[in-house]
């Protein structure tokens, strides 16, 4: 695809308030993207320190640091923060920054809604964590202690932490739906002349499908937690057998959202990973059409496989078989995607700057997550894996390696474009190796300890699990501390460093690389045309 653009800017268009008012009132897609990414990084550290508390407690058998109540609060809030306040905002941040640049639009289609979408997030993060602080002052008994899944009747029994978490989820959901509407409208209406849908950058495709999934599933989650709220306080019996309800119905509603959520977290990453691969392989991505169709297939399958998250809850045999085979079917389009990614590397002219390192590491580790997911679909074997540490390890391979390490690849890839400075390559590579190695040290032992029979979400464990847990904790602390290096690299790159060129990477392709680094406050004052 060849492009013509003039990066040309009118200085007086750049007028905007300064200081805090700039950020509170901004409708600029880059400012909002920056806020999303910063928020995500902060919450990543918050969620990470919670889990280090957990890993410290699990370092050896016995209760050392915390009581079981507090332990249960940390695990649930860790997950909610990592999913809703770290991974999702990071993907939205990239969408805000890069979608307009990639499709040749001057801004997002709905800028005021965009601003609101972001500013709902900090209050909801506060709602989620406030019960911890309140408990210190003797109000309530702490945060949500049911795990992130809110399963009733435990969540009906729980304290005010559950109510706070329900309202936090409402707000986070509204924010995501607003962001999704904005992205869909932008992609459909604001592409540069000549950019047909099948010429769009893959990142736009990934996000388009993500946005549809969010709009389809978030309302179901919001409904489910609202029913929970009325069960708790207004005497309804949606999930109470004594009143004709069913606790398992909540699981159906929750996972109707929860499973697509996995793809909501991953599809944006699957969008920009091929772009990074083509940049550093110096050849166009392989199988563009095959990838687009695979993304659609996965998006469609995502909403019809939810019950594999609770095979052990008891279901009729035909339902078990249906959910097993449909879940396995997801591996078909995913295999096509893996094939296209590796085929893009094949016979390219590869160089291994930090974004490429993260991308290659991502393919390998996410591959482990995908393959272990395949075996989890087997109903009979799932009776063993379900709610054991095997599952914990599996979904950290998909969500930490497949999600967060993908986001990190994106950060290193676009940071020079966003800031106008090159980051420190040597430190970036160090960060990659520290992360990749300590990640495996943390989670490989969890596969084994899960097979040996250790259930998840227990504050203390039998003696035969001790060695694996000890190794896992050591890995987790190295992994956690390595992320401080990530923060340092980003801050020093924002502050200064070698000037980045407009194209930044030798093999970069796409409209965002035709603008200056950093791009002007208002990009594309003259519309680019895609031939």
């Amino acid at each position: 695809m060849s492009t013509t653009t003039v990066a040309h800017h009118d200085e007086h268009h750049d007028d905007h308030p300064t200081g805090i008012m700039r950020w509170l009132t901004t409708t600029n897609h880059k400012d909002i993207g920056t806020m999303y990414l910063t928020f995500s990084l902060v919450m990543f550290l918050v969620g990470g320190s919670m889990i280090l508390g957990i890993r410290a407690e699990l370092f050896k058998p016995g209760l050392q640091l915390m009581n079981p109540e507090f332990f249960n609060q940390l695990i649930g809030v860790h997950a909610l923060i990592m999913i809703f306040a770290a991974l999702m905002p990071a993907a939205t941040g990239f969408a805000n920054w890069m979608l307009p640049l990639q499709i040749g639009a001057p801004d997002m289609a709905l800028p005021r809604l965009n601003n609101w979408g972001f500013w709902i997030l900090p209050p909801s993060a506060i709602l989620l964590t406030l019960p911890f602080t309140l408990a210190l002052f003797g109000v309530g008994d702490g945060a949500l202690a049911t795990g992130w899944t809110f399963y009733p009747p435990l969540s009906v029994q729980g304290g005010i932490g559950v109510d706070f978490a329900i309202f936090a989820v409402h707000l986070l959901g509204i924010s995501s739906v607003l962001g999704s509407i904005n992205i869909i409208v932008t992609i459909y209406n604001m592409r540069a002349p000549g950019m047909t849908l099948m010429k769009m950058p893959m990142f736009a495709w990934g996000w388009l499908i993500t946005a549809f999934l969010l709009i389809a599933t978030i309302p179901v989650l919001a409904g489910a937690v609202t029913m929970l709220l009325t069960d708790r306080h207004f005497g309804t019996h949606f999930f109470d057998a004594a009143g004709g309800g069913d606790p398992i119905m909540f699981q159906h509603l929750f996972w109707f959202f929860g499973h697509p959520e996995v793809y909501i977290l991953l599809l944006p990453v699957w969008g920009f990973i091929p772009q990074i691969l083509q940049t550093f392989s110096r050849k166009p991505m392989y199988g563009y059409k095959a990838q687009v169709y695979s993304l659609w297939a996965i998006g469609a399958l995502a909403v019809v496989v939810w019950a594999h998250h609770f095979f052990t809850a008891g279901m009729p045999v035909p339902a078990l078989l249906y959910f097993m085979y449909s879940t396995m079917a997801i591996s078909l389009p995913l295999a096509v995607l893996f094939y296209c990614w590796i085929r893009t590397m094949w016979k390219g002219s590869m160089s291994f700057e930090t974004p490429m390192l993260f991308t290659v590491g991502w393919i390998i580790l996410f591959g482990i997550g995908g393959l272990t997911g395949l075996v989890l679909a087997d109903v009979a074997a799932d009776a063993q894996y379900h709610n054991s540490y095997f599952v914990v390890a599996h979904f950290h391979y998909t969500l930490f390696a497949g999600g967060i390490m993908g986001i990190m690849a994106g950060v290193y890839y676009w940071l020079p474009k966003m800031t106008g400075h090159m980051y420190n390559e040597k430190l970036g590579k160090t960060h990659f190796w520290l992360t990749a190695i300590s990640f495996n040290v943390t989670f490989i032992p969890q596969f084994f300890v899960g097979l040996a029979g250790m259930p998840r979400r227990i504050p203390d464990y039998a003696l035969q699990f001790a060695e694996f847990n000890m190794i896992s904790t050591v890995g987790a602390f190295v992994l956690g501390l390595s992320q401080l290096l990530f923060v340092y690299i980003i801050i020093s790159c924002v502050k200064g460093g070698k000037k980045a060129t407009d194209k930044v990477w030798e093999g970069a392709q796409g409209l965002e690389w035709t603008l200056s680094s950093p791009p002007p406050y208002h990009s594309f004052t003259e519309q680019p045309v895609v031939k």
Binding site: P68, G147, Y288, V317, L320, A381, L451, A452, I458
Partner: protein, 388 residues
């Protein structure tokens, strides 16, 4: 540098010492039921297939990473948008491989496993009912030699072991006071339910696990092929005691099972006989019942964990009157609360017998810093009357 080296040697030595005493298991524990054996086969086969795929793909990637390098001057192959037919052909290859693995190699055995797992009735020779409650299991034998036997199985690990004040025993957190006893070789149909929140009864060596849902009956089955003691845990988050409700199953020969059943039935009969007890007898038994069942929430001292779990020391309910002028127990009295529960407080009438309830109430009213002025002693007969 020297320091680093020392550190490295130290870490290596630590690792060696770990693996020397380690009880590492790299796979599922030894299966003892047909289901667990089937699961292990499925798992091993699947792991082998995925390992082969992973290694093959990784090898291709590594070859490419080593060979197709910019720094070696490798020129990218002009992979201009390949023709649609060629592209479709190539991308259908991984699709076809996975199709074969998913729906033939794995899919067909998986179908048979599911059918086998869900067939709880065919050839089953006895039925037991398992009730999960916070945080203990209750077992009830519904037919056969052991019909009518019903007991509660509590964690036997002591508090000081959990808080590192005593050495941890061999079966730390995986030991109970009353294990479930099952005959070897019999297909046992298990009906599963719960009294409060979701629980999941799981013994890794049995390969079956099922959620216990309050208000519903779920089914599963086990057929233990080898005598022995098998241990597992609840694996559905069920509150603060989730880590403290182990499952222990003692599988014995049919003869031993019949002997055990006769003995247990006799004991149960004796315990159900209501007889007058002295205050000291009640206090002694009450202490045992209290520490096993009540102390998790209300604490050994009776101080509770407010606001969720109120203190018993000085509590109005635990010191106020129980019986009204007509001799019947009053609503919201101590006896009412223990029998019927309220909110988070479970109802104990199905779990504890008359003597145990009388004993624990008497204990709570005269120990834990309490001295009840009225109704200081409750007799088993009064509890029995209250149930009717």
């Amino acid at each position: 540098m020297q320091g680093m080296k020392k550190l490295g040697v130290g870490a290596f030595a630590l690792f060696l010492s770990l693996s020397a005493r380690a009880d590492f298991t790299w796979n599922f524990p030894e299966p003892v039921t047909p289901m667990a054996l089937d699961t292990l086969h499925v798992h091993n086969k699947f792991m082998l297939i995925t390992a082969v795929i992973f290694v093959a793909v990784l090898a291709i990637m590594i070859y490419s990473i080593v060979t197709h390098r910019h720094s070696k001057g490798y020129k990218p192959v002009a992979d201009k948008a390949p023709s649609t037919a060629v592209e479709i052909f190539w991308t259908l290859i991984p699709f076809a491989i996975l199709l074969l693995i998913d729906f033939v190699i794995m899919g067909i055995p998986a179908y048979h496993s599911v059918v086998m797992m869900e067939d709880t009735r065919d050839q089953s020779t006895m039925v037991i009912k398992i009730t999960g409650s916070q945080w203990r299991w209750q077992y009830e034998y519904l037919d056969g030699d052991a019909k009518g036997i019903k007991f509660v199985s509590n964690l036997a690990t002591t508090n000081d072991q959990m808080h590192n004040e005593a050495d941890k025993g061999e079966h730390y957190l995986l030991e109970v006071d009353n294990p479930l006893v099952l005959p070897v070789g019999e297909k046992v149909r298990i009906l599963m339910t719960a009294s409060d929140v979701l629980h999941n009864w799981w013994v890794p060596q049995f390969g079956s696990s099922r959620v216990a849902v309050p208000g519903f009956i779920r089914e599963t089955w086990v057929q233990v092929e080898k005598a022995g003691v098998y241990r597992g845990q609840c694996k559905e988050l069920c509150g603060k005691g989730h880590g403290y409700m182990p499952v222990v199953v003692n599988a014995v020969s049919k003869e031993e099972f019949a002997q055990w059943a006769t003995k247990k039935q006799g004991e149960q009969q004796a315990a159900n006989d209501v007889k007058e007890m002295t205050k000291d007898e009640l206090l002694a038994q009450g202490k045992v019942v209290y520490e096993k069942n009540c102390a998790v929430c209300h604490q050994v001292t009776g101080a509770g964990l407010p606001p969720a779990f109120p203190a018993l020391t000085g509590s109005k309910i635990a010191t106020g009157p129980i019986f009204g002028a007509d001799g019947k127990y009053q609503k919201d009295s101590h006896l009412d609360r223990v029998l019927n529960g309220k909110g988070v407080m479970p109802a104990w009438k199905a779990t504890l017998n008359d003597t145990e309830i009388a004993a624990v109430i008497t204990y709570e009213r005269n120990a834990l810093g309490n001295t009840a002025a009225v109704d200081a002693v409750v007799q088993p007969a009064q509890v029995k009357a209250a149930r009717e």
